[in-house]
């Protein structure tokens, strides 16, 4: 029981950590495209970790499945939104930011 609560705590805190990273990413990254990367990946993982953390304490099967359903919907929504934002930016001719010391690897 203690072990499960510990695992829950780890998952929840890691989830919040990724949310913080996602927000920090959209503040620090240089252009729209890179910000989309930061947001979609970090926030979805953050939500996923929180969902799995809460899942361990869920008191019934429908509640657990509902948590997963919410995560699935959020994944689809943010992957679609990320793609659409990137496409809209590209169509308006927003040039992707490039590193100054750019090298082909």
């Amino acid at each position: 029981m203690i072990l499960i609560e510990l695992l829950q705590a780890v998952l929840l805190l890691a989830g919040v950590g990724f949310f913080l990273v996602g927000t920090l990413g959209i503040l620090r990254f240089p252009d729209v495209y890179t910000r989309v990367h930061a947001l979609t990946k970090a926030d979805n993982l953050g939500l996923g970790l929180i969902v799995f953390g809460l899942l361990l304490g869920a008191d019934s099967v429908p509640v657990a499945l509902k948590l997963l359903l919410v995560w699935g919907l959020a994944l689809i929504a943010s992957a679609t939104a990320g793609y659409l934002v990137a496409r809209a930016a590209r169509r308006r001719g927003v040039r992707p930011w490039r590193a100054r010391n750019w090298e082909k690897g």
């Binding site: 919040v16 969902v51 934002v85 308006r92």
Partner: protein, 96 residues
């Protein structure tokens, strides 16, 4: 456990507030859309944590509806973007 959930909820709220800076600074509409997307995902997470913390099962349904609304918002955005230029990828400019 409750103390931890409270801390988690509080930190999620902090990320929401920090996201406001991006809406304020922009510079493009797309950046502001991104902050809106951040609100959607973080809001869903916050609602799920609050549902557990306060033992209000209905908040999970609110989270579900918020996630669904996020899909709707995306669809609305699609409709607008597609109306603006229906031709898909005919103008192919090489990346800078």
């Amino acid at each position: 456990m409750n103390g931890l959930l409270e801390a988690v909820a509080l930190l999620l709220l902090v990320t929401l507030v920090l996201g406001l800076i991006r809406i304020w600074r922009g510079p493009t509409i797309a950046d502001r859309m991104l902050a809106a997307q951040l609100f959607g995902t973080t809001g869903v997470g916050l609602l799920l944590v609050l549902a557990e913390l306060q033992q209000i099962a209905a908040l999970r349904d609110v989270a579900l509806v918020l996630a669904l609304l996020a899909v709707m918002a995306v669809l609305a955005f699609v409709a607008r973007v597609w109306r603006r230029d229906p031709e898909d990828g005919t103008e192919e400019d090489p990346p800078a």
